[in-house]
Amino acid sequence: MEAKIVEPKAPTTSSLFLDFWKTFSSNRVAVVGLVMLIVIILVAIFAEQLARYDITTSADITSKDIYQPPSEEHWFGTDDAGKDVYSNFVFGARVSLTVGFFAAFISIFVGGLMGIVAGFYGGRVENFLMRLTDIMLVIPDLPLLIVIVAMTRPSLMNIIFVIGLLGWTTTSRIVRSQTLAVKSRKFVLRARAIGAGNMHIIRHHILPLVLPLLVVNAILVISLAILNESTLAFLGLSDPTRLSWGQMLNFAFGRGAMSAGAWWALVVPGLGIVWVVLALTLLGHGLEQVLNPRLEFHHLMPGRPVVQREAGNVHSFAEEIHPVLLEVQDLSIHYVTEDQPPARAVENVSFTLHEGELLGLVGESGCGKTTLMLGLLRLLPAAGQIVGGQVDFMGKDITAMSEQELLDVRWNGISIIFQGAMNALNPVRTVGDQIKEAIVKHVALLPGDKVDERVVELLDLVGIAADHKDHYPHQYSGGMRQRAMIAMALACNPQVVIADEPTTALDVMIQAQILELLDELRKKLGLSIIFVTHDLGVVAEMCDSVLVMYGGVMAEYSDVDTIYNSAQHPYTQELLKAFPDLSKPEKRLASIPGYPPRLDNLPTGCRFAPRCPRAIERCHTEVPDLHILDKNHVASCHLVEA
């Protein structure tokens, strides 16, 4: 087996920055925001060069100059004092940005300090600081700002300090929770164990991880500070010697621009504020997406269209005592993402499910079991696409069904018991209500009390007392939730039930109970079940036939006796070795070294070849066909040939 050992390279600061820049520059929203921000900062810096009039003097201004519309001499017109709005605007940028940045700096410094201290030291200090933060969060800040500024002298300094000292609450909260999260990470504990001091830990371990969040938060704080400053100035609370955009609006609004129709004096300063705040908002939104990327996928997005393709080699078993319910032929499912090769999650899988049959679907995590099951009902996530094959359910091809036909087959014909029933049940609706919903949807025209009777009957079937009907999922225990999920799956008397690892996350006793229940129900109701699991012991005990999957393809498929007694595929053999056999307690358990292949980067030959103890040269280059070994037995392996 070839294995390349790659030394993990320690990331250097410059490469981290380059990586960040690469992701950042591909985010158009963030780049637009940054460019807008740089432009207005340059305007503020070079105000002297850009202004066309001296705004400090009123010489040469006559009453004719008041509220003149935009013209060659005055690009944005003139204001109530006859001054050039454009020049005022350019200098106003300087005042507004100064207040915004300095006030935000104070807020972030105070908030960051409080957050780190609270999060790092905990205990009484934290309690006190967080209580204080909570109180300050509730008190409306603009009225408080107004009261304080109104009662002190509204100089630029005062305004910066008052805005800064009242704006720290959000920062302190965010920094505290991030510090708490970082504090308990392994490397911090390790640093502490080797005797690093508090200051060292804060500077070298906590600060670097809190910083990205602080930057995003800073952007929000700056924009709030600029908005607050302009609001105060508009209300007349600003430094009379330093003209900001808000003050320009105050003068224009209070001194008759409205009645003079001087829209320019009202529009231009406002656009300045919008420009800066929008730039910051876009930048913050973009940064947030870069630092905290989020897959915006959900279950209601339109799926990809099914690709219809003739099924090729079909392996239906010759001997058929019971009628066939579900026949899957050559089903292939890919996950398609832009600019990347598709992940071939399921390829050419075929199997047959008869009435009353219990089929075990076995394989390691990530080998396409769940994808295959979701594909049967076309419930794949938006990126998943059926690229070939057929799913015949009672003589009708599900892959060719219309949306409406599909809604009828789901739950009514084939239902699913999902793994992890905690999340599979809606937390804000009662369990009974959720079972009822399925019945109402599919069983037409049942009177209300009949539905309730049926719900009680179903709950009784899985051993849940009727008075638990009106309880919420969080009031159930883990085992009860799984039972409720089973009751829900049986609500419409489906022909086929898919049980997708129904016992994961349950303790061993409850697991046994649930399995027993499933087996009992199957006998009682004559259900056909596809049982997805990685527990071969359960399969041996309950199933009629077994399909072993590896890396998205069928490895071996046969009845349960054949699989256990004469497995041909090396993967099946290795799997069997990995499970305890009670009849041979002295036998050592073996594990299969390595991991299943990544589905977007599959080996060229047999998918199991890299881990196969019996692989030959050919296995690495040539994909094995499915070989029919016996009337009830197929395996895809070069070794079984001939």
Binding site: L142, V147, L278, E296, L407, W411, N426, R429, Y472
Partner: protein
């Protein structure tokens, strides 16, 4: 049991915060340089006796609180006097009786002015908030449902833009536009309207409310939309939505029965957190449109240096926000059955 504990915790927290605000409100107006004692009495033409008379009239001759005789500049002393005879406890006692002092400007009791005006603010915030929530939720649902399509991007960008608009400036622009299209330029009613039949009076108030409410809706809708969108996206990627889909429910049924209630929960929290912004927005809008509510009262009293009114209004606004917060918290506990289970 658990819900009871939750309620008691929330209510006692609100009570504690109100006490904090009471204390803050009292000292703020005595520490800062513009306190009533000096600003009202700073006129050099006033005789010493007149100044003293004013001090007595407003109770400013009494010690601030036990052990602190004067606060700006600090003067200690008088620890042994009857607490009920200090400025602080007289202030608390008066508040309990509903007395907030007399306006410097109009000589009317502050409480009378506030009672008159609070309803106008409630009317404006109520109408704007309801519209903003309705439209925000509707657009948010669309954006989340059509995530990563053009509809989504347009909705996202316009809500970011709406967020970036200074509220008062949007008000000015709308007022400018409205005044050129025959809408009233401010106030709550046209003078002389009180002699008209009541339908006409209501239509008149409605016309005056149109633009302020529109401003409010635009400013707050964007944020509600963003929250609704991201919260619905979270909910729609939950496992129970897949269950609902597997059950054969249609997209509409899933949205209506499984997604909306769950997605609305974060919105309720945001409405509570945003109450401060709500007040700030109303304050700006009322100022631009001269809408006679609490916000406009603050603007007026700042310009007139009418400190009793400013102090009373600030207290009323802060306490209202705290109580509204409490109400939202309590509502939340009824909406989300899990709250009872939380420790």
């Amino acid at each position: 049991m658990k819900r009871q504990q939750y309620l008691i915790r929330k209510i006692s927290w609100a009570f504690f915060t109100i006490i904090f605000v009471l204390i803050l409100n009292f000292f703020l107006f005595r520490i800062l340089p513009g306190d009533p004692a000096r600003s009202g009495i700073h006129d050099p033409r006033l005789k010493k006796e007149a100044v003293e008379a004013i001090r007595v009239r407003y109770g400013l001759d009494k010690p601030v609180i036990n052990c602190i005789a004067k606060i700006n500049p600090v003067e200690f002393g008088g620890c042994l006097i009857n607490p009920m005879d200090t400025q602080f406890f007289i202030y608390v006692g008066n508040l309990l009786k509903g007395e907030m002092g007399i306006s410097y400007h109009t000589n009317r009791p502050v409480s009378e002015i506030l009672v008159e005006r609070i309803w106008n603010t409630i009317l404006l915030i109520g109408a704007g908030q309801i519209l903003a929530i309705i439209f925000g939720v509707i657009f948010g649902i669309f954006a989340a449902w059509k995530a990563r399509t053009t509809i989504d991007y347009v909705a996202l960008l316009s809500s970011l833009l709406a967020w970036s608009l200074p509220t008062f400036w949007l008000g000015i622009i709308l007022l400018f536009w409205g005044s050129n299209h025959g809408l009233p330029i401010g106030g709550k009613a046209t003078p002389g309207m009180s002699s008209m039949p009541w339908e006409d009076q209501w239509i008149d108030i409605f016309r005056h409310m149109l633009l302020p409410t529109l401003t409010y809706t635009i400013v707050f809708m964007g944020e509600y939309m963003l929250i609704m969108r991201s919260s619905l996206l979270d909910v729609l990627s939950e496992d129970y939505i897949l269950t609902a889909k597997a059950k054969g429910l249609s997209t509409f049924q899933i949205l209506k029965d499984h997604a909306l209630k769950n997605a609305m929960l974060p919105l309720v929290t945001i409405i509570a957190i945003n109450l401060g912004f709500t007040v700030a927005g109303a304050l700006q809008i009322e100022t631009v449109f001269s809408w006679p509510g609490l916000g406009y009262t603050i603007f007026e009293s700042v310009n007139r240096r009418d400190f009793p009114v400013l102090q009373g209004t600030f207290l009323l606004i802060a306490v209202s926000v705290i109580l509204a917060n409490l109400i939202v918290d309590l509502t939340y506990s009824y909406l989300d059955p899990r709250v009872q289970a939380e420790s």
